[in-house]
Each structure stands twice: as structure tokens, then as C-alpha cells.
């Protein structure tokens, strides 16, 4: 009898896992089903460009089902809960899916309602998020009318998807307002709960230097507790206030809602506790997780999900064959950071090694690490094509391995971390 793999989530992780597993097993030996609540697959890196008129929402959204290869069942419905003890998923439409292996790839959910006042007066009028297509589009309209005052970009709390996106937004806003000739009448401030603009010290230093160069203000250790949309005030839990005319918020992120309804699956925030080396969940041996849905200590980013997918496909095969799991996933992440004026930085890092300067993918380059270049910007744009045509179909990217490589990277001379 055929075995069953159920994949929760038809985004980056769910789609590439379904396609990779479909190639690995014959339809006669393995049934594969994917569940998602809707049929809109968003190319999320594209959201950053929408507010600046550099991308349209319809250009970055495609059908989820159409990204899945033949022989993969797609259920378009909410997930009610996972019954770990019976190896079954209960869907909102009444369907029950039994599984031999479950893959959790439901990413994260924005929870703006967790911050006092955030979705109150001013929401979608002078308070926006670009983390949804609707928010990004509405922000674009507000931004096109914004010609004087203070623009505040705020990360409410970590973890968030793509920790560099808020910094990129600030860089692009600087470029956009300069192009429109109103930069001298506007102010840009980035307010973050972290003690620097990024989570890793060497990259944080490089990015702080760029922020200064672009005259973008930085407020660190700012734990936003309340948004007063009508008064235009962002207030921290310890009583600090930042006035704004336009607020771009990155709301609190949580795991998918069904995780909270599935006893034993997630932690307090709805993320799935997962072994960072094998991607096996701590909940059950036959439950695996990848991408933003896990609690593994690396960035929530598509590149991470892609590298995890290569590893996890092997581990599901090992698991079903009764073999020991591969423990070699290292937290590898690789991100382009758009800096405006047609340039971008590139960072490459893992659990242990923070982003370092150098060249990528090897000492011959061609792409410089932690340094602005036009080539990196081209890389970022080209990646959208790679996403739909290489990454989602489950192909490996030639010359780039799932594990991070030290070749080309400059080691810091002293370790003052």
C-alpha cells in the first residue's frame, strides 16, 4: 500500500518539498497532499518593491496549485488541527488526512492586533505594513503623497520574516524621497527592539554606516507597546515616544493559528520546536518542519527554506527507510539587501558564522559580500525568475550548496562579539 505524506502549507517550503518528494517517489509508492487556505502564492521578496511602484501586486502572486507538479493533491481549505496521537490532520471542510509523515510548512501569521492601538484609528490611513500585498499597495499610495514630515519604520518585536526587509525599506524610502526632491523636508527613522539595526554584529556595523550615510535615524532597544494612530505617536513599553506622520510597521509574527489548536505541536508563539540540524520536530519523530514555521535559530527567509528543503528531502527518505537522519543542516542563509539607487549588498551566513565581508560564491566572486554593488541588485532582481523556475520546482542551484562555505569570506582578525 502506498504511504502518505501530508504537507501543511503551499508556500515556499511546502511547494518545494512536495515537488522534491514527488521526484523522489513513484506515485504508486507515495501519495502526496498539500493543504493551504487559499490559492495565492506570493513571491514575498517582491512585496518590498510594491510601495515604491517598482512591482505590482498581481506580478508577484501566482496560483499555488499550478506550482505543484502532477500527482500532488491540493486541498484548498483551512486546517482545523493536527491530531498527533492518531497521525491525522483534520481540515476545516471536514476532510481527514491520515499521514505516515507530516511536513509543517505553514510559515508565520502577522498579528498586528497583539499591539495596542495598531489596528485602531489611522490603520491603513497613516499606519501601514508592507508585509501583505494589500498593505504594500495602500502604503504605495500614501507614500506617493508624502512630501513632508516624519516617516517611521518600526519592527514591533522579533522574530520577523526577512530581518533585513525593514532596513531595505528605509534605504529605498531614502532613494524614493530623494528622487522626488522632497528628502530635505522629510525625516526617516528606523525604530527596532534590537540593540543595533541587525541581529549580527559585523553586518550591523556595515548597515549602521549606510544608515548614517543616508541620514536615516536609528532608535535601538525600542520595544513598541502602543500605537496612537490619531495622535501620530509610537510609544514603547518603557515610556519612550516617537512621533510620526507616516508609520510603516512590521507587526508581531506568530505561527499559524491551527498550531495553537493542535496540542503538543507548537510553542507559546505558535512556532514548531524543531531540531536545528535534522529538521525533525520535537513533537513526534514522523513530523518535520521547515521554513518560517519552525523555531530554529536562523533568519526566517526563503533562502533558508530552500537550503532546508534539500536537507529535509533526504531526511524524510532516511526516516521512511528506517535509517539515521542526516544532521548536517547548518542554518545557512543568503540574502540580498537592497540599498537604493540600483545597488544591493549580499550576506551569507549560518548558525555559527555571522555575515562576513568577502566574495560569493567563492574568492573569484563575482558577487561582493557586505558591500554595495549593482551586480548584487541585478542578482536580487534575477532571483524572482529563479524562485518560480528553479527553487519551487525543487531544483538545486548550481554552485551553491545547502551548507555555507567559508571560501571567499574574510575571517575577522579578532573575535569581539
Amino acid at each position: 500500500m502506498a504511504k502518505k505524506i501530508v504537507i501543511l502549507g503551499g508556500g515556499t517550503g511546502g511547494t518545494l518539498m512536495a515537488n522534491r518528494l514527488r521526484k523522489l517517489y513513484d506515485p504508486g509508492e507515495m501519495e502526496i497532499a498539500v493543504v493551504d487556505k487559499d490559492d495565492r502564492h506570493i513571491y514575498q521578496p517582491g512585496l518590498l518593491f510594491v510601495p515604491f511602484g517598482l512591482a505590482k501586486p498581481e506580478e508577484i502572486v501566482r496560483s499555488r496549485q499550478r506550482q505543484l507538479h502532477q500527482g500532488i493533491a491540493f486541498h484548498e481549505t483551512e486546517i482545523d488541527h493536527v491530531a498527533l496521537d492518531d497521525d491525522r490532520v483534520h481540515l476545516a471542510d471536514g476532510t481527514v488526512l491520515p499521514y505516515d509523515v507530516l511536513v509543517v510548512a505553514t510559515g508565520t501569521r502577522l498579528a498586528p492586533e497583539e499591539t495596542e492601538g495598531l489596528t485602531g484609528p489611522g490603520w491603513m490611513e497613516r499606519v501601514f505594513t508592507f508585509y501583505t500585498p494589500e498593505g504594500a499597495e495602500a502604503l504605495g499610495e500614501a507614500l506617493s503623497r508624502f512630501d513632508n514630515g516624519r516617516l517611521v519604520v518600526n519592527i514591533v518585536d522579533m522574530p520577523i520574516k526577512c530581518p533585513v526587509a525593514p532596513i531595505e525599506f528605509a534605504f529605498l524610502a531614502d532613494w524614493y524621497l530623494r528622487e522626488r526632491g522632497v528628502r530635505d523636508r522629510t525625516e526617516i527613522v528606523l525604530a527596532t527592539p534590537l540593540d543595533g539595526c541587525f541581529t549580527k554584529p559585523i553586518a550591523s556595523k556595515h548597515l549602521t554606516y549606510l544608515l548614517e550615510e543616508k541620514e536615516i535615524g536609528l532608535e535601538v532597544e525600542f520595544a513598541a507597546g502602543e500605537v496612537d494612530g490619531s495622535g501620530g505617536r509610537l510609544v514603547s513599553y518603557d515610556g519612550r515616544e516617537i512621533p510620526f506622520d507616516l508609520l510603516v510597521t512590521v507587526p508581531v509574527h506568530a505561527g499559524a493559528e491551527y498550531v495553537d489548536r493542535s496540542p503538543g505541536l507548537g510553542d507559546e508563539l505558535g512556532f514548531v520546536p524543531t531540531n536545528p540540524r535534522t529538521l525533525q520536530s520535537l513533537a513526534r519523530p514522523n513530523v518535520f518542519a521547515l521554513g518560517d514555521a519552525t523555531n530554529v535559530p536562523t533568519s526566517k527567509a526563503g533562502s533558508v527554506t530552500h537550503f532546508e528543503g534539500e536537507m529535509l528531502t533526504k531526511n524524510i527518505r532516511h526516516f521512511l527507510a528506517g535509517e539515521p537522519l542526516d544532521e548536517s543542516y547548518d542554518g545557512h542563509a543568503n540574502c540580498f539587501i537592497e540599498t537604493g539607487f540600483g545597488k544591493a549588498l549580499l550576506i551569507d551566513f549560518n548558525y555559527e558564522t555571522e555575515p562576513l565581508p568577502g566574495r560569493f560564491p567563492s574568492s573569484l566572486g563575482p558577487m561582493p559580500l557586505l558591500k554595495e554593488s549593482r551586480l548584487n541588485h541585478m542578482g536580487k532582481l534575477m532571483f524572482q525568475w529563479m524562485y518560480w523556475h528553479v527553487l519551487l520546482p525543487g531544483r538545486d542551484i548550481p554552485g551553491i550548496s545547502p551548507q555555507m562555505q567559508m571560501t571567499g569570506k574574510k575571517q575577522p582578525t579578532s573575535t569581539t562579539v
Binding site: D157, M158, P159, P163, L194, D195, T199, E221, A223, G225, Y237, D238, V252, D267, E268, L269, P297, T298, S299, K300
Partner: protein
């Protein structure tokens, strides 16, 4: 860089920022001494609720809970956490609870 320090008659090893490197060297008097140094005159039952939750979670899982997890699961809401432990509640409660500095985020 770690140094040895004597707190409330107990010798403990601390890092550059004053976090204990070995949770086993901790006791309630050490906690009170760290709290006093940080400007908290008295550890009330509300403080202890948070400090104990922090310490127990760390000893069980190897990770210190974040401020949001504290707000959801310790029994004390985030607003009150900032009243009890001014500035950085997660960091300060970890320090008083004798566990290493939380990794922060990614």
C-alpha cells in the same frame, strides 16, 4: 571574559555584563543581590513569578524565553513586566534568575 564575584556571601562566576555563567551557583540571596544592584529594592512575589518561570524554562529547554513568551506564559503581562523590571525585562529577569544572557533574536 568572566570574573569571580562575591554576591550575598556566595562566590559566583559572571560574564562581562554580570550574567552568571553557571546557573548552579545561584541561590535566592544571590538573586536579591543582583536585583539590588540593578535598582530593584525588593523582589516581590510578582518578580519571583517571572524569575522562577524564566529559570525553570531555561533549565528545562536550554533557552531563555523572550519577552513575548514571558507575557503569554509567565502569568505577568508585558506592560507589568516593564514596571517590575525596567528597561529590558527579559534580560534583567534572566540576570536575576542566574541564567546566561538571552541570545536575543535572529
Amino acid at each position: 571574559m568572566t570574573t569571580m564575584e562575591t554576591l550575598a556571601g556566595t562566590t559566583v562566576e559572571v560574564d562581562a555584563e554580570g550574567f552568571l555563567t553557571d546557573p548552579q551557583q545561584w541561590n535566592e540571596d544571590v538573586a536579591a543581590a543582583i536585583a539590588t544592584e540593578a535598582g530593584i529594592a525588593e523582589l516581590t512575589p510578582r518578580h519571583w513569578l517571572v524569575v522562577n518561570y524564566m529559570r525553570e524554562t531555561y533549565l528545562r529547554t536550554g533557552e531563555a524565553p523572550s519577552i513575548r513568551t514571558l507575557g503569554k506564559a509567565s502569568g505577568v503581562q508585558i506592560k507589568e513586566l516593564y514596571v517590575l523590571f525596567p528597561k529590558g525585562p527579559a534580560k534583567l529577569a534572566a540576570k536575576i534568575g542566574g541564567i546566561p544572557k538571552p541570545h536575543g533574536c535572529i
